[in-house]
């Protein structure tokens, strides 16, 4: 039985003869080809053109309003700036070349550092680009958080004025939400999914690269808000304050829409890849649980995010073209923004949570040396969460004055979603049962995530209960709750994943002692920062205030000082990263954790094509504790034993069909 090992379409591999008589575009010198420098130039030029155009179109009537600003110029500047940035990085080269009937140059593997500053078709490069991009977002947002906590050191004397404070709050929230919506799917999803499902490539590698560069453009756009005086609405951007706000609001609306387009692209690409590019034998019951998590997330990314883009467009039109989508007096409704925003905003919460679940469930079997408990329940639970998350959004606006008869329904759906969410704990506890737990750093982060997410989840039930919600809605209780789920859940899972997969991603080993120091300081100060804020919220401090009751100063100060230590704990990671990857690198073995995951069966560093031969998957990756378990996959050259070490050579360079094919699913690759 011959096994089809090639996959159709897409990338031309070097060495193969060109299948087409079309002339390739001649290759220019290194520095003239698109890269990040040209992207920045393109962004600046685009902004200037757009700003000039906006002033030509609209300066007249904006002057009448006497507001000293021209929203049309800002919006056009930012939009054309993003377009210029993407042109500069070369996002348009392929479609434009196709359009004029020429064949774009084939993707060639580059091995120098310049590839990290280009649009690339290698999902591993995009994954690392996303890692750096997400950390950039995270640390920027983190610095803003330090500034917010500094202002809250004292109930009445101020470090910043209320205007700067409110700008910091909005900027922190928006940057963190943008970061968190890609925090795991971007770096680890893009890097790992093709390796986990045994494919050489993404379904749409150019769309994938586009999603990263537009994500970075969104970072630039949202940062410009600070230069336009910030926006006073927080990350929720409620109208009509949105319509009233100054120029920073344009950055918020354009930035969120831009990030949203990136999220949609990332989601489509990953969904298409997971559904269509699984290796032979990678049946749905053998797919790693992280891939299930990413698949559930992509459903949310592709279905919920368009609402955000549309809402942003409405907001931009309200501010520039004087439409009245969100203006009650002129036939619009401020409830429209609230509903559109939260219709995206609640699935967004699970866009952030689900990949974290996936990472924790993927990593725990490796360190407990046990199979994943209740695999099917876990997968079904995540799909259930994804589905239910579209039916809960009104719990964010219980007290807003929407029709009250919907309230019991949304209370019910919100509490129902805790059932599939709770499966995470069923799976985790079942996997811990009579295990042999190794407390390496990734496992510590997983346990920390479970601890934090439990608090975040249980307080979520309090918030979903309408009578309790009357007191805690809009208070620091909410704020502590979602920091426990997003930071305590997602960011802990992200670091679990980074510590776990960095040896494979970079080929270098992280320092163990610094890693553990990072975990313990991060975990301790995270809880010391955010647990007091539950109490602060119950005791009556609303969110986003710069002044508060004097009797709450002690709790606020505990939180602030812990927040500084929390911020400092990231230096352990940064120092560790620079030290272990660049200064004193130690080469990592191919499979340092003895994992059975398919991604660990590749050599380190992972070659450009991932797999020399498309693997034939023989079992799911969780056969721990079974001495006579089948190998996880037939990689063409060697079979891999249960422990992950190469066992016996069976092939000689080409794919050899397994002899008896007992466990082999004979399906051809799904195309």
């Amino acid at each position: 039985m011959a096994i089809e090992t090639t996959q159709p379409g897409g990338i031309e591999y070097p060495g193969e003869e060109a299948p087409t008589p079309l002339q390739p575009v001649s290759r220019r010198s290194e520095w003239l080809r698109p890269h990040a420098g040209w992207a920045i130039v393109g962004g600046v030029v685009g902004y200037l053109i757009g700003h000039w155009l906006g002033n030509v179109i609209a300066s007249g009537y904006i002057n009448v309003q006497g507001s000293g600003q021209n929203d049309v110029a800002t919006v056009l500047g930012l939009s054309l700036g993003v377009a210029g940035f993407l042109t500069g990085i070369g996002a348009l080269n392929y479609p434009l070349a196709k359009m004029i009937g020429r064949e774009p140059p084939p993707a060639v593997p580059e091995h120098n550092w310049v590839r990290y500053f280009r649009m690339t078709e290698d999902h591993k490069v995009v994954g690392l680009q996303y890692t750096v991009g997400v950390l950039l977002f995270l640390f920027t947002g983190g610095l803003l958080a330090m500034a917010i906590r500094t202002e809250l050191l004292s109930p009445s004397s101020h470090v910043f004025g209320p205007g700067i404070y409110i700008a910091l709050v909005g900027e922190h929230g928006t940057i963190m939400m943008m970061m968190a919506s890609s925090a795991v799917v971007g770096p680890l999803g893009n890097w790992l999914v093709p390796l986990m499902i045994g494919t050489r490539r993404m379904a749409y590698p150019r769309v994938e690269a586009f999603s990263f560069w537009i994500f970075l453009a969104g970072y630039g756009v949202i940062l410009t808000a600070l230069f336009f005086g910030g926006f006073p609405t927080g990350w929720t951007g409620y109208a009509p304050l949105q319509t009233q706000a100054s120029g920073g609001m344009d950055s918020y609306l354009v930035g969120f829409a831009v990030i949203g387009i990136g999220m949609i692209c990332a989601g489509f690409n990953l969904a298409a890849t997971i559904i269509n590019y699984r290796a032979p034998g990678m049946t749905w019951s053998r797919v790693p649980i992280f891939v299930w998590a990413v698949l559930a997330t992509t459903a949310l990314l592709t279905l919920a995010t368009p609402t955000l883009v549309v809402a942003g467009l409405f907001g931009v039109l309200d501010r520039t073209a004087e439409t009245a989508f969100f203006v009650n007096e002129h036939g619009g409704s401020n409830f429209l923004w609230e509903n559109l925003f939260w219709f995206f905003g609640h699935p967004e919460v699970y866009i952030m949570a689900l990949p974290g679940f996936g990472i924790v469930m993927e990593i725990m079997p490796v360190f407990t040396r046990k199979p994943l408990f209740a695999y099917k329940v876990a997968a079904a639970g995540m799909l259930g969460v994804a589905l239910l998350s579209f039916f809960v959004w009104q719990h964010h606006i219980f007290q807003s004055g929407i029709n009250p008869d919907m309230r019991p329904l949304f209370m019910l759906t919100t509490e129902l979603i805790s059932i599939p969410t709770g499966f995470l704990f069923l799976v985790a506890l079942g996997t811990l049962w009579k295990a042999k737990i190794r407390f390496d750093t990734p496992m510590l982060f997983c346990l920390g995530m479970l601890f934090n997410f439990l608090i975040g989840g249980v307080t979520g039930v309090f918030l979903s209960d309408v009578p309790v919600n009357v007191t805690v809605h809009g208070s620091f209780f909410v704020m502590a709750h979602f920091h426990y789920t997003i930071m305590g859940g997602l960011i802990f899972a992200l670091f679990a994943g980074l510590y776990f997969w960095i040896p494979k991603m970079t080929g270098k080993t992280m320092n163990k002692r610094l890693s553990k120091w990072h975990f313990w300081t991060f975990f301790t100060f995270f809880n010391l920062t955010f647990f007091p804020l539950f109490l602060v919220g119950i005791l009556g401090q609303p969110r986003r205030v710069f002044e508060y009751a004097a009797n709450l100063q002690t709790l606020n100060d505990i939180s602030t000082i812990s927040a500084y230590c929390l911020g400092a704990s990231f230096f352990f990671f940064i120092i560790n990263f620079i030290w272990s990857i660049y200064l004193i690198p130690h080469d990592a073995p191919d499979n340092p954790w003895d994992s059975r995951g398919l991604e660990w069966q590749t050599p380190t560093p992972v070659p450009w094509f991932n797999f020399e031969h498309i693997p034939v998957v023989l079992s799911d990756p969780y056969h721990y504790g079974e001495p006579d378990a089948p190998p996880v996959a037939d990689l063409g050259r060697v079979l891999v034993s249960a422990g992950g070490a190469p066992a016996e050579a069976v092939g000689h360079g080409d794919v050899s069909p397994p002899g008896d094919g007992g466990d082999l699913d004979p399906r051809p690759p799904i195309l």
Partner: protein, 331 residues
């Protein structure tokens, strides 16, 4: 950990199935015993010691309801938290690799257990359905639990003597109008004890949220929209009012306090204030449940939005400020 504990775990490695299942039973019973004991201690401890002090207190029926609801939720949540934490700590202590215990077993038994999974799903479903049912009861019974019910509330009080108080949010303060006392507008919020209050919350500019903390009342103030919340006072004293929806740069400074007084005191305060503010009240727009900005005048005046459906032509045709009755500044 005592020697016997370690011994019983180590015995799992012995091949006989009996000792293995016995050790498993030990784990289960130990976990359940720790959980029951800790829950039985912590739940009453919380309920009777901390419970009565949980905000928002007992100043109104809705506040008391919210407090009771919070306590019930916490009494249910504590055993859930404990169950998972105890299990995790037990696993971390007992099943760590450094203890040199037996190799974990893979295979079908480790990959799932139908009764455990079904038990888990059933338990969580029962808890969740109970919480939703209880929450609905606690929402409907005290007339919407103090939350804003929009302009057409469905859980209305049966009491005949409901005092309407209009709360007008504006950047960045709350003002209050008393329609049953000539519609005077003041920055003081005074309400009588043992009375059902209907707060009609609206806004003149952006979204605010009227949060009367000790009253257990929260309702967003939307422009051109009447959001009604009910509560019944049951204790006298002062309470804090804060804005809990971000409304611009001075959002943090948007707070004041109100007071619950005896009905007689309230009556005399209201009639005296009505008389004192009579000249101001004449300049105000007539009382209405919503107001819209004066689109013609630049002085920030407001008109009552009485026209339903809203008609810009009729509203803009209303007299300008200073031209007569029914116009002027709403501030």
């Amino acid at each position: 950990m005592s020697e016997t504990d370690a011994g019983s775990t180590a015995s799992v490695s012995d091949p006989p199935a009996t000792s293995q299942s016995q050790a498993e039973t030990h784990h289960w019973w130990r976990l359940i015993a720790i959980w029951v004991v800790l829950s039985a201690i912590l739940d009453p401890l919380f309920y009777f010691l901390a419970g009565p002090h949980i905000p928002p207190g007992k100043m109104t029926t809705t506040a008391g309801g919210a407090q009771f609801d919070f306590n019930v939720l916490l009494v249910i949540a504590l055993p859930v938290l404990l169950a998972i934490w105890i299990f995790m700590i037990y696993a971390i202590v007992m099943w760590r690799a450094s203890r040199g215990g037996p190799e974990p077993e893979g295979g079908e038994t480790a990959r799932g257990n139908t009764s455990v999974q079904l038990g888990w799903i059933l338990t969580t479903t029962v808890i969740v359905l109970f919480l939703a049912g209880f929450g609905t009861y606690a929402l409907v019974q005290p007339n919407g639990a103090g939350g804003g019910q929009g302009s057409s509330p469905i859980w209305t009080p049966t009491s005949k003597t409901v005092l309407p108080v209009q709360v007008i949010g504006q950047q960045w303060k709350f003002t209050y109008r008393y329609p049953t006392f000539g519609g005077f507008e003041t920055t003081e919020l005074v309400i009588p004890d043992n009375t059902t209050i209907a707060f009609h919350v609206t806004s003149l500019d952006v979204i605010h949220s009227f949060w009367a903390y000790q009253l257990g009342v929260k309702a967003d103030a939307n422009p051109a929209y009447d959001n009604v919340a009910f509560t019944t006072t049951s204790q006298m004293g002062t309470f804090i009012v804060r804005c809990s929806e971000l409304c611009g740069i001075w959002h943090g400074a948007m707070y004041n306090s109100g007071v619950v007084v005896t009905p007689t005191q309230f009556e005399s305060w209201a009639t005296a204030t009505e008389k004192r503010l009579a000249t101001n009240t004449k300049l105000l727009p007539p009382f209405a449940y919503t107001y819209v900005p004066d689109a013609n005048g630049a002085d920030g005046g407001y008109y009552p939005d009485n026209i339903d459906p809203y008609s810009p032509v009729e509203t803009y045709g209303a007299p300008q400020p200073g031209q007569g009755k029914g116009s002027g500044s709403g501030k």
